[in-house]
């Protein structure tokens, strides 16, 4: 597909294998009696890398939640300009000739404005992760619903949804996100979302979700088709359970492992997508920080202010890497057959 949505494909290919039944592995015999979830937890605990990235992700989430609160109470200060810390004669580079790192500003100050980099990265994480998470939720919910409907109803509905999936997957996504931004942000604003960044953010969330769901719908559809043939669904049917009851009582518990894995892998793709779109000029604009618009600004300082050039990029890389490794770890834990 495109340069910004690359995770999605690989996530899809491999997530499809999850929960494949494993025939006669000797070691499984030794630990019979535990539920799949207990098995997964046991495997997770042994997986050091995943435990580390789980901690990183947890930390990032806590930081993202706390950042706005800390900004309000003044511990973090992402907005205040510090003209006294930068040199107007050098294009606003920090006065110390480096990145302006100090005790008050552990990651330095932003060239041109003197704003605190740590605060901006922390709050940027809040906005980027909110965007990515919201888009992920839309993707997962939409994908699940479409996949379930296609898989369970079959026939014409299945054909119809499958063709929609084919078509959405055939659109050049990056280009669509870019080209649709002007008019769709207009529409979003007219629908009552405040103009400016709320509309910009809503646009990113919506289009990422709208173009992202087909992959997960395919996975869910595939899972449903294979699950549908299993006895417990047959049994539920023969007992006269309604379709709705079948979806939610019987199928969802069997689907949420792939959903969890896939969702974890979509999240970093969307964090990257936010950054890429910022670079192309679409998305939330400063002074509201996002990791994307911070990086878009910081790449201009590649040669002049190395720390400022690197910090936003490293922040994104750590987040993306952690979520990807977490997704891998979850997949391995939930699906012993997949090889690390």
């Amino acid at each position: 597909m495109s340069e910004i949505k690359r995770d999605v494909e690989f996530g899809a290919g491999t997530a499809q294998e999850t929960l494949a039944p494993e025939p006669g592995a000797t070691q499984e015999k030794a630990i019979t009696g535990r539920t799949p979830w207990q098995l997964a937890r046991a495997r997770l605990r042994r997986d050091k890398i995943t435990m580390v990235v789980l901690a990183v992700v947890a930390l990032a989430i806590v930081l993202a939640i706390l950042a706005p609160i800390l900004s309000i109470i003044g511990v973090l200060d992402p907005e205040t300009f510090h003209p006294e810390l930068i040199d107007g004669n050098t294009g606003g580079l920090p006065l110390d000739g480096g990145g302006g790192l100090s005790l008050q500003h552990p990651l330095g100050v932003e060239p041109g404005t003197g704003r605190d980099v740590l605060s901006r990265i922390a709050l940027g994480m809040t906005f980027s992760m909110t965007v990515a998470l919201s888009a992920t939720l839309i993707t997962v919910v939409l994908g699940t619903v479409m996949g379930l409907v296609a898989g369970l109803l079959g026939g014409k509905t299945d054909f119809f949804i499958s063709r929609i999936i084919d078509m959405v997957l055939s659109f050049p996504v990056t280009l669509m996100l870019l080209a649709l931004s002007g008019m769709f942000i207009d529409i979003i604003t007219k629908a009552g979302v405040p103009a400016g960044n709320p509309s910009n953010g809503a646009y990113i969330v919506l289009v990422l979700g709208l173009f992202g769901w087909p992959t997960i719908a395919r996975i869910i559809r595939g899972q449903v088709l294979s699950l549908r043939e299993r006895e417990f669904i047959e049994a539920a049917r023969s007992l006269g359970a309604s379709n709705r009851r079948i979806y939610f009582k019987e199928l969802l518990p069997n689907l949420w492992a792939p959903l969890l894995v896939y969702g974890t892998l979509v999240m970093p793709a969307y964090i990257s997508a936010e950054a890429a779109l910022s670079f192309l000029g679409v998305g939330i604009k400063p002074p509201t920080p996002t990791l994307g618009n911070l990086l878009t600004y910081s790449v201009n300082y590649a040669a002049a202010d190395v720390t400022f050039f690197l910090f936003p990029a490293i922040a994104i890389a750590i987040l993306v890497l952690s979520f990807n490794l977490m997704g891998d770890g979850l997949r391995d834990a939930l699906d012993p057959k997949a090889d690390r």
């Binding site: 006669g24 000797t26 070691q27 015999k29 030794a30 630990i31 019979t32 495997r43 042994r46």
Partner: protein, 350 residues
């Protein structure tokens, strides 16, 4: 046969002599003892049946003989003496040269055991040419001949077909042709008929018998189904939980079986020669853990005679005396075992 296996594997005169074979796999949950101290002899031209349920270690044994565990995390100990050489001690490349040429293998599921992307002919020709420096055309002619001999009709055409274009029986015939293409001295057939229809099973087994006569090979046939080896095997070894529990000539196993597990296998086998059709009896319980095997006799949790206080099944470890002619890993005294078989088992089965 006077003893199950001789003390010295090299001078035993057997084509294959396995002594105290142990295969272990390290896993996250502990060490899996897949094969735990196996000993047997196989003479040239004879057939040994290894019988046991899945997880009993019979397939692992066959792969250990082929050296297929090399390069993996599995640890193989003991001796596997083939034609006077200990296969566990020779270098990889020598062993590789013996594979397919001296020892060949027929696998359980010919569909997955044959490469789906190459024609049957391609794969058999490859097996032939790796050990024989002949031209492609000569190899091809030889393979067509082999396919003909294993009963594949129209081999000139079939040689260029892919495995999925063959029926199950034909695929297994092709597998057999591949195994026999180098006229090996030992053929290991791992569940050769499990994936096949009953009618085809008989044909394949008959084919094996015929070919063995023709090529003079020894055969190890591995199965969970006593019925398969009934007509084929000279000797039978019953395995349970990675260990041999009973070994003897085929006749003795069928008519004088001594181990309660073998009895279970016999009872769960449909027999057309049964006087009256008794209800098939599955063996209750699950296969034992290979990491933490039950104490005492590994079979005791499933054994009908475990409550006999005087035997101490849950604490005393029974032995498998290879110097016996019919060694049996059971704590019940031999006389009682024979009595039980004659009074309780045979009446029901025969």
């Amino acid at each position: 046969m006077s003893t199950w296996a001789s003390a010295d594997p090299v001078s035993s005169g057997a084509l294959l002599a396995v002594r105290d074979l142990k295969v272990t796999f390290p896993t996250e949950d502990g060490l899996v003892k897949a094969v735990d101290g196996l000993t047997f002899d196989l003479r040239a031209g004879e057939t040994l049946g290894i019988v046991g349920e899945s997880g009993s270690g019979k397939s692992v044994t066959s792969q250990a003989i082929m050296g297929l565990h090399r390069g993996s995390r599995a640890k193989v100990e003991g001796q596997i003496v083939f034609d006077g050489r200990d296969l566990l001690k020779i270098v990889d490349d020598d062993l590789r040269r013996m594979r397919g040429r001296d020892i060949a293998m027929i696998f359980q599921d010919p569909l997955s055991a044959l490469h789906p992307y190459y024609t049957v002919g391609n794969q058999i020709v490859e097996a032939y040419r790796i050990h024989n420096d002949v031209s492609k055309a000569a190899a091809r002619a030889h393979v067509i001949d082999m396919l003909d001999r294993v009963g594949i009709p129209n081999p000139q055409k079939r040689i260029d077909q892919y495995p999925h274009e063959f029926s199950g029986g034909m695929r297994q015939r092709a597998m057999i042709a591949m195994a026999l293409v180098n006229s090996p001295r030992l053929i290991i057939a791992d569940e050769p008929t499990t994936a096949l229809d009953v009618t085809v099973q008989a044909q394949i087994l008959n084919l094996l018998v015929d070919l063995q006569k023709e090529f003079g090979s020894s055969i190890i046939i591995i199965t969970h189904d006593l019925g398969v080896v009934a007509e084929l095997a000279d000797n039978i070894m019953v395995m349970y939980g990675g260990k041999a529990v009973e070994g003897s000539s085929a006749d003795e196993i069928f008519y004088e079986a001594e181990h309660p597990y073998t009895w279970g296998l016999l009872q769960s086998m449909p027999r057309i020669d049964a006087v009256k059709q008794a209800r098939l009896q599955p063996i209750a319980g699950n296969p034992p853990s290979l990491i933490n095997p039950p104490s005492g006799c590994a079979f005791h949790p499933r054994c009908a005679f475990r409550d006999d206080e005087r035997l101490g099944c849950s604490s005393v470890v029974p032995r498998f005396e290879i110097s016996d002619e019919h060694p049996t890993r059971c704590l019940i005294p031999q006389a009682e075992r024979r009595a039980i078989f004659q009074t309780q088992i045979e009446t029901r089965t025969a």
